[in-house]
Symmetry: C2
């Protein structure tokens, strides 16, 4: 059961022409959900699904399925919408890889494979909008209130597919979901590895922290009499690596991505510092322990400096989502066959449609490298041999899953 590398790459490059950037040499794509380019790409995919013996079916959310003619099948795919200025592989790779594996399986008499391209994974309206609707995590009533930054409403968007869309597809017809995706991080590329078998999608927690200091004149207030909110925020940031040392793994991450000082003037000692602290890990208990470390640190800093430090937990904490063991095993065995010593198990630090499906069926994910870790940018790319290796691993894994 060997995929056709040329056919796969030809389709992948063909998909890139929908919304493709005109600049010479650019592989960039503008294919925002529900735009002309996106809908034309979905029409093209529907044709390809038909040619491959799959029944094209668009659901009310714009998710496009290619359904295998079987009572139960394995669902494979990803999404074909992009960021406003996106790369050519983010999502597209998983959709065309799934199509190629479905064709290969059909030709080789393998197990029945259905294919899907979810809609608005990149969040023009919400986040993972299409798979959230299909999986029941988002209601159509709630979705109808979503508005894109350009003012387009979700009802306006789905009006565009009124003539294409049918009913919802019953998730029970699928015995699992397998998604291939570019890593969108630097790990595989830096290690010169071809494949990552995803152990799970990391959980995420986030605090919005406010240090309440004392606003003062930056010329007349001696250092010893200051309650400088920025100095305290900087000490918190600087203390974190040591405080986390015995808790984290090399795959744990934490980020202060935003900070605002009040009043934010060069000549005023900051009276208030507000900043975000986000941490991600594959293990829920490690997220808990990190939260305790952070709370202890904030408490100590508050006592030491005499400044109140308050926090609000974000409403949308996300729990870690482990991948199915049997899927991981099939992918790992296949990876070792196709690319011995050039693959690893790794968490996904980014969210994917697979997160939404994990409650419905067994889910697995496979990563291929991102050159220099770049994604969500025109420069996003992966070496073609690595793209092909990923499809070969998928095909063998499907064969093993039976």
């Amino acid at each position: 059961m060997t995929p056709n590398a040329d056919r796969f790459l030809a389709d992948l490059h063909m998909l890139r022409t929908f919304g493709g950037d005109d600049a010479p040499g650019s592989k960039g794509v503008r294919r925002r959900a529900f735009t002309d380019a996106d809908l034309a790409a979905r029409d093209l995919l529907a044709d390809r699904f038909q040619e491959a013996g799959l029944t094209p079916h668009m659901d009310p959310a714009g998710n496009l399925f290619g359904l295998a003619d079987a009572e139960r099948s394995l669902l494979m795919g990803s999404h074909s919408d992009t960021q406003p200025e996106g790369g050519w592989l983010d999502g597209a790779y998983g959709v065309i890889a799934a199509l190629e594996v479905a064709r290969t399986a059909q030709e080789a008499g393998g197990p029945p494979i259905s294919v899907v391209s979810f809609q608005d994974e990149e969040g023009r309206f919400g986040a993972l909008t299409g798979s959230s609707l299909w999986s029941g995590k988002l209601s159509m009533e709630a979705a109808d209130k979503l508005v894109a930054t350009d003012g387009t409403t979700w009802p306006e968007a789905r009006a565009r597919i009124a003539d294409r869309a049918g009913d919802w597809v019953d998730p029970a017809r699928f015995n699992g979901f397998l998604e291939a995706h570019i890593e969108q991080g630097p790990v595989l590329d830096a290690a010169d590895e071809a494949v990552g078998v995803v152990t799970g999608i990391v959980g995420l927690r986030q605090f919005h922290i406010t240090v309440h200091g004392q606003q003062n004149h930056a010329g007349t207030t001696p250092m010893g009499m200051r309650k400088d909110a920025f100095t305290i925020a900087a000490r918190i940031a600087t203390a974190l690596p040591d405080r986390f040392a015995n808790v984290v793994t090399p795959q744990t991450v934490w980020t202060i991505g935003h900070i605002r000082l009040h009043p934010g003037s060069q000549s005023v000692v900051p009276g208030r510092a507000e900043f975000s602290l986000q941490w991600r890990d594959i293990a829920a208990d490690r997220l808990d322990r990190m939260e305790r470390v952070i709370n202890d640190l904030l408490e100590e800093m508050s006592v030491e400096t005499g400044c109140e430090i308050t926090l609000d937990k974000l409403r949308h904490d996300l729990a870690p989502m482990p991948m199915d063991d049997a899927m991981q095993k099939a992918l790992s065995d296949a990876a070792e066959e196709v690319a011995p010593g050039r693959w690893r198990s790794m968490p996904s630090g980014a969210l994917h449609d697979a997160s939404n499906l994990a409650g419905l069926m067994p889910v697995g994910m496979l990563f291929v490298p991102s050159i220099n870790g770049i994604s969500h940018a025109f420069e996003e790319d992966t070496k073609e041999p690595d793209l092909v290796t990923g499809v070969e691993v998928l095909a063998r894994a499907v064969q093993r899953l039976g």
Copy 2:
């Protein structure tokens, strides 16, 4: 030569009614330069100068003088404009104290004293605008380009005083300038002292520093592969106290009052951090040494992290401005007489009109306490006995200067 405390306090409270906040118990004042309240206050001051035997004279910048009938006199005063929401003593104290000392000296046959209220010290248009024009540091051509945040231009502002203004006053008719002011900092209040004899106005330097990191996805980029611009900025801020330890005095200050992260998103590793670092000291060589410490630290951090760190020095570095020795001596001796053991020598961390006059004539400054160090706010206040003590010290110092 003893000032009349009741007369002095009555005038000080009277001045407060011009632009005074209506709220019960509030001592706050809104008397922005060239507003109706400011000009009415200057008319009142002109009347009081006249009553005190001084000749009122407004110059083309709106600075209001009360000129002694003598070939040479000592100039005393400050400013009577306020911040948009200012205190009742900032500037006003120095003007009314000067008026009271001028009256006292005249009654006691003391040396001739002229009085001044400079215009727009609080920077509705520029910064220390009136004294900058009078001292020649700012030309009228340059001033005519200044625009207040409410859109009022400097030419529109000075059109309001066209019927009041005369020619420039020749600085050569003054043999020195003596300014009393509230401290606007917490030092005297915290030490329960009544008077500060100013040794000089501190110099100020400022860097605008940019850390050039690498923008990355906050989920997919392992900690060890990050070039997080905020983390580096926080380490710089946290390292400064140790690095400065053998260079600074308890009166040296430094401040990071502003920071901006790019892109400033909770889920993105900051690719760039821009922040201000300002430092102030009374000694130019210490400002130099601090600058070397900062440059060394930035260089080390750049080498250690592999991130470029760039800086632009602000155009308006300000040199320290020492006060005249004889003025300091006269003020110190007077302070020890009036408030033995309850005064100190100290630098001024804030700018004052006296900075502009130091190139023209010998300059001295005296501080009285600010309760809790608060200024530029309605809550600004000083105990009345301390206000009176300051005037008594001024009067005795003037007598000593002869």
